[in-house]
């Protein structure tokens, strides 16, 4: 029998750096066989700004306004890690109130980041409306940030030894209202999305990463917890005062896009719960280390002197990063956000290596998308939750 042989040329298509669903400026060189993805090669670096090098000739306070540009959707975490690194190196203690304020801010920031992820992820698989709904709630988080820090996205709120300003009057009530409002809204999202048959068929069993694989790739955050690894730095490292709150780590075992979705939605709920608890337990006192020392020492404190009051009100401008090196990490919404800091008893750090979760989580993408359809490529990329500002730094 004579067979007609058809040989299709493979098509190499260049998605990005400006493609609607590339989450910024990621570029993928995708080899297609019809609708099937044969190969995918990510190209990075379109948003590289030399963040690490810039950190090497800035003091902590000078660098702080800039760090929110790593992951511009979970801004509080970048600030937290930037102050945590020198804090831990210099053994600066943080007053309890400051620590609680930090936790509240971090969890609110996590809510904002996950809400935005939910909207864009649904957008990636074609549902447009959830984007508007999640933005409605995200706006409220940003209103809270604005009330407390003066800025909606680029807060510049954390300081070595505490936070820049205390919470304004009425903020706690406002925040409590928001948390109570948020949970029913999350129920609404779940009603709309979770059991939608089209959504289920699009994401179930897609982009599966096994437990071992996830660990070997060095994944973190919802990517890791979606694969059934109980690993949350808030529980593992016990930083800030997370131990004083009653909360659960969200885990799913399936390792597919749906599992990652469920983990993130669960984390929104948990974070709202944690913020509510923190607000209830919020202690009084100082919001900053030096302030605490001043109060503790009474009227004769050297910090009551002219220098402290009017010139160097906060420690940071002349804060010296002590000699030594170490790695500090926090659990950001995207995963483990870490800084490897080398100080040489100077105001500038000698080395400021950023371990961005998005960069690491992006690694398995080519392997995940091989053999899937083009539409799946978007769903998988969406479920990874990358921010190019953080990946390229």
């Amino acid at each position: 029998m004579v067979m007609i042989e058809t040989k299709a040329e493979r098509m190499v298509i260049n998605m990005g750096p400006h493609h609607p669903s590339m989450h910024g400026v990621l570029r993928l060189l995708v080899t297609l066989d019809g609708e099937d993805v044969v190969d995918c090669e990510p190209v990075l670096g379109y948003l590289h700004r030399g963040m690490e090098k810039i950190a090497e000739n800035r003091t902590v306070v000078q660098y702080l306004p800039y760090v929110t540009r790593w992951d511009y959707l979970a801004t509080m975490f970048t600030e937290a890690i930037t102050v945590n690194a020198p804090e831990k190196l210099a053994n600066v203690t943080v007053p309890r109130r400051a620590s609680y304020i930090r936790m509240i801010m971090l969890e609110l920031s996590r809510i904002a980041s996950h809400l935005l992820w939910l909207g864009t992820f649904m957008g990636d698989i074609g549902a447009l409306s959830p984007f508007f709904y999640t933005f409605r709630e995200r706006e409220m988080v940003y209103d809270l940030f604005e009330a407390a820090t003066g800025m909606r996205m680029m807060h510049n709120y954390f300081r070595v030894g505490g936070v820049a300003a205390d919470l304004p009057y009425g903020w706690v009530d406002k925040c409590e209202d928001f948390c109570k409002y948020l949970t029913p809204k999350v129920d609404e999202y779940e009603k709309l999305i979770t059991n939608n048959p089209i959504f289920r068929r699009r994401v179930e069993g897609l982009g599966t990463i096994g437990r071992e694989e996830a660990i070997n790739w060095g994944l973190s955050g919802p990517m890791l917890r979606g694969s059934g690894v109980n690993w949350d730095l808030r529980k593992v490292d016990r930083y800030e005062l997370y131990d004083e709150l009653d909360w659960n780590v969200q885990i799913e075992t399936a390792g597919d896009c749906l599992a990652r979705y469920l983990v993130r939605v669960g984390e929104i709920r948990e974070s709202a719960k944690m913020v509510l608890q923190s607000l209830k337990q919020l202690p009084g006192g100082s919001y900053e280390n030096l302030e605490a020392q001043r109060v503790l020492a009474g009227p004769k404190s050297e910090w009551n002197g002219f220098d402290y009051q009017f010139i160097g009100k906060k420690s940071s401008p002349t804060f010296k990063v002590p000699e030594g090196e170490h790695y500090v990490r926090v659990e950001a919404p995207k995963g483990e956000l870490g800084v490897y800091l080398i100080g040489e008893d100077n105001m500038f750090p000698w080395r400021f290596k950023i371990r961005a979760p998005g960069f690491v989580n992006l690694q398995p993408l080519p392997q995940l998308v091989k053999g899937t359809k083009i539409a799946d490529l978007m769903a998988i990329l969406g479920s990874v939750d990358i921010i190019m500002g953080e990946v390229d730094r």
Binding site: S21, E35, D124, I125, G126, Y133, I198, R201, I374, A375
Partner: protein
């Protein structure tokens, strides 16, 4: 049986009485349906775009168009105006003939279908005996235009979009035709007027949706897929293919695609209204009204009112379907290409065949209720 309004005869009589020769009067008459169809459909499509904006805005807690005219009603006109004065860009290394022909083919084939869409017993351009078959045949020309523009754009996204459009239209044309075939079987004819007339009698109870619930579902799903509306908008999936086959188009050629797609949606709505929702029929028989008020059904002024009511009803039903389509578009995610084809070939096609068989059996068993 009254003859109803015969605009053609009245106009030609009017013109000849004004002293024009009969031939010229007929030529003038021929222009009128053309203008009516182009204007009517364009306005209908523009209304669709406005509705889509407003409904989606309401769904997404936005306001939507607000400042261009009352409730932003002039915004579609502003859109058209903008697209008309934009530069006509031809991408380098494209095939200029196919590139221009593509949108034209899409637009013309969709507008052609309106020839047989009736708004009343005599309120249609031409009562073809092949009616619904004509619509299905002509509307399947549109994917060729999409394929042409996808191929000729010299753009990989556009090519993928064009291929998707072709695959999608072919797979959904068949269930669509099967559903329409069941209706044709019920009404013993393909003519759109016959189909509606067969649904007259007991008002809302005699509409085909009760006799063909499965067929209605098949037709609605397939019509959405043919219109490339959101659960099935793969050819222009903006998150994957940027804009699919429309990628390289701008200005008036894009307007042809854009207007064409909304005209297609309106056509789908009208077809649903005609095939399943009783066309121009009111939810209760119109004779009841004339009987109640003791009006002679042949009175001229009553004829005008009845015709206006019929047009209103048809449009209301059509826009109800469009409203449903818009709701759906902003609620559900997009299906994947293999899921789309599976749904077409493995689900709708067998169901459509069973529905056809069942209709035939029912027609033989209960000829009084199923058009025997």
């Amino acid at each position: 049986m009254n003859t109803g309004i015969d605009l053609q005869r009245s106009l030609i009589e009017l013109l000849t009485s004004l002293g024009l020769p009969f031939g010229l009067a007929k030529v003038i008459w021929m222009l009128i349906p053309m203008i009516v169809i182009i204007l009517g459909v364009t306005i209908g499509a523009l209304a669709c775009t406005w509705l889509e904006r407003k409904i989606s805005a309401a769904m997404q807690q936005r306001i939507g168009p607000e400042y261009a005219g009352a409730f932003g009603i002039l915004l579609p006109l502003a859109d058209v105006g903008k697209l008309l004065i934009k530069q006509d860009i031809m991408p380098a290394k494209s095939d200029p003939i196919l590139f221009t022909l593509g949108p034209m083919l899409v637009f013309i084939s969709i507008f052609f279908c309106y020839l047989v869409v009736p708004f009343g017993e005599h309120l249609l351009i031409s009562d073809l005996g092949t009616g619904i078959f004509f619509v299905i045949a002509i509307s399947s020309l549109a994917p060729i235009g999409l394929l042409m523009s996808g191929y000729s754009s010299n753009n990989k996204y556009a090519l993928l979009g064009g291929l998707r459009a072709a695959a999608q239209s072919i797979s959904y044309e068949i269930p669509l035709a099967l559903a329409a075939l069941a209706i044709a079987m019920l009404s013993n004819g393909l003519s759109t007027v016959d189909i509606v007339n067969q649904q007259a009698g007991w008002g809302i109870l005699s509409w085909n949706i009760w006799r063909q619930p499965v067929g209605f579902m098949i037709f609605a799903i397939a019509a959405l897929a043919e219109c490339e509306r959101l659960p099935f908008d793969l050819p222009e999936a903006d998150e994957e293919l940027v804009a699919g086959y429309q990628n390289e188009y701008g200005g008036i050629k894009f307007a042809l695609f854009y207007g064409g797609s909304y005209a297609n949606l309106l056509l789908a709505g009208l077809l649903v209204a005609i095939l399943y929702l009783g066309g121009w029929e009111l939810p209760f028989p119109i004779d009841r009204i004339s009987d109640f008020f003791g009006i002679s059904p042949n009175a001229g002024w009553w004829q005008v009112i009845a015709a206006a009511l019929g047009i209103t009803m048809t449009l209301l039903k059509a826009y109800f379907f469009i409203f449903f389509a818009v709701l759906l578009r902003f609620t559900v995610p997009r299906v994947r290409i293999d899921q789309l084809l599976d749904l077409g070939w493995k689900f709708l096609l067998p169901i459509g065949l069973v529905n056809l068989l069942l209709t035939a059996a029912l027609k033989l068993t209960f000829p009084f209720a199923f058009g025997g």
